[in-house]
Symmetry: C2
Subunit: 202 residues, 2 copies
Amino acid sequence: MGLRERKKEKTRLAILDAALELFLEQGYESTTVEQIAGAVDVSPRTFFRYFTSKDHLVLWFHDQSEEILLETMAARPPDEPPFTALMHALRAMLADIEDATPQEHERFLKLRRILDENPRLIGQSVARGTETERRLAEVVAARRGVRADEDQLSHLIVAFAMSTMRVGFECPRSDGSLPEITGRMAESIELAERSLRPGWDA
Amino acid sequence: MGLRERKKEKTRLAILDAALELFLEQGYESTTVEQIAGAVDVSPRTFFRYFTSKDHLVLWFHDQSEEILLETMAARPPDEPPFTALMHALRAMLADIEDATPQEHERFLKLRRILDENPRLIGQSVARGTETERRLAEVVAARRGVRADEDQLSHLIVAFAMSTMRVGFECPRSDGSLPEITGRMAESIELAERSLRPGWDA
DNA sequence: ACCTTCCTGTCACAGTGTGACAGAAGTCAT
DNA sequence: ATGACTTCTGTCACACTGTGACAGGAAGGT
């Protein structure tokens, strides 16, 4: 990996960390891009080269999660029922969070606090989720041997799976610790598995 | 109803119709608030007094639907299983769309075409849905005799119900006619009812 | 060193959304 | 009708987000 790429990754994280810090200090809305850029000695224009929007800062983890979801789905045996495969993918995502560095844990928890305080951002996060759903629906449809355009069930399977993740993530009455959050998510996954009729996704 | 309120409702609809027309003609992004306001001889500032944002134009029907959902839920017998009640609410929403005036049908179909062409807006629509989900979760939790903060299942029930609606609404391979759309939504509701284990939401 | 490629800052700009204020229009008395 | 009263509207000024264009500088390979 060249110096250029290392430098880029460094600024990307510097911007992200500075932004999270400012958001927690003075709130999301009242923090401007100019301030964030200023905190890491970068021009506002450059900020937008790293993150396409201010919201994108907060959706960062979402993008990472999507990657893991898609990778895991690709790796699961093709004859496995799609919803089961999706639940495995969710658990893989969970494991990835747990196995991350303390620094990344820190970011994850800060982000979660910001999300809690700004319902609008949760909405944005869900909004981005629709694109993920579309892609996952393609994968599920392929597994089921149908076209995604023509099969509502494929969409329903994915939508239920994503709902499960979201419910776990919103994580009611949390003290904000990482084990509690991941615990809730695991809980939510089990709940969903128990709620559905065996073989419904076949 | 006084002249003032009638006039207000008239401008609100005039703005909405002009906007939908412009969006279909030249696309959502490339239509400015100034244009919309100009088309109905209103200042841009006034536009924002009727719709809090450009996006809000498109989320208009969402707000209406939420109202019906909440009203129906309040009217359903309290001992009915929550998911069943929610499915009834969805059907009530459907009926409301079908029973509307031709003019309102027109708006609904235009809106849907715009949504189809702008995935970002679907996201926004879903984003607004999270607030609806929160309110519905309160209602469901009350039915189940628990606190919404402490019960993941209440959230899961609502999330599954809203997913069902969305999947029906996205309506793959549609020719765009109203009967087809409502048909797909009904289909989706039945699919969901068949997929869940009896008594899962008790 | 050289040339190429990519990154960055500066400038200019379009567009969304908001606060403040003055004036017009609607409302409701007498 | 005429008055006072409330509510809506337009104008002006403004902060902020996000983008296109261009010039200079840093990193890459030769």
